[in-house]
Symmetry: C2
Subunit: 118 residues, 2 copies
Amino acid sequence: MVRRKIKHELISNEPKRKVTFKKRKGGLLKKMNEIMTLCGVMGCAIIYSSFNNQPKIWPFPPELTRVLHRFMELPKEERERYTVDHKTFLGRLISWSSNALEREIKKNRGLKSRTNIK
Amino acid sequence: MVRRKIKHELISNEPKRKVTFKKRKGGLLKKMNEIMTLCGVMGCAIIYSSFNNQPKIWPFPPELTRVLHRFMELPKEERERYTVDHKTFLGRLISWSSNALEREIKKNRGLKSRTNIK
DNA sequence: ATGACTATCTATAATGT
DNA sequence: TACATTATAGATAGTCA
């Protein structure tokens, strides 16, 4: 975005991609920090990258540690489905929408209200 | 950041805060999209705000739906500890560091390798 | 590879409708 | 309240040390 506008696609040059990743990760986390402070909301960003073995989460609600532990405990092969095959996984990710989750949650709530389950 | 620099603290004016939140949320998600595409990593951003009843997640790995369901199924009072008392919660959030999680994961891995548990 | 620099691009606060 | 505009603050790609 600067000395020259870049195309919005995977950066093929690896060292370059790594540098960009580092810079942008910092920017992203700063933005997350700002929106939390300015707007009084809570949130977190989670990034799984092949550059780090561990997912980078910052900041994060305690609840998420559980799911992440579970993630880390998956057999290596399964983890790799999510950490290595980015192209496929990204495609899958993007095909989900947050609306799908909201529908799920509403459905569950409806069930609960009908059955009086706590 | 623009017609006038703003202080990095909670915006007290509510409608203004809401507008800022909406704009910045959009920016954040765009940034997340960009880093995923440019750098070939996967990630997600989760924002719990009092503006929306549902946490806003975008995009998200299927694994996370489970923990979020669990979150939504917490008794209302418990959920509110995380969604309403922002000030307290933010303080707590920030006091955590991603290093703490990494230590945990390493510890668990060490245990596993010593006990041969899968 | 890391860090600093900086020219340029992007995000966005304030304003207006 | 929700868009559109726009001038300025902020993020960052390329470069160099």
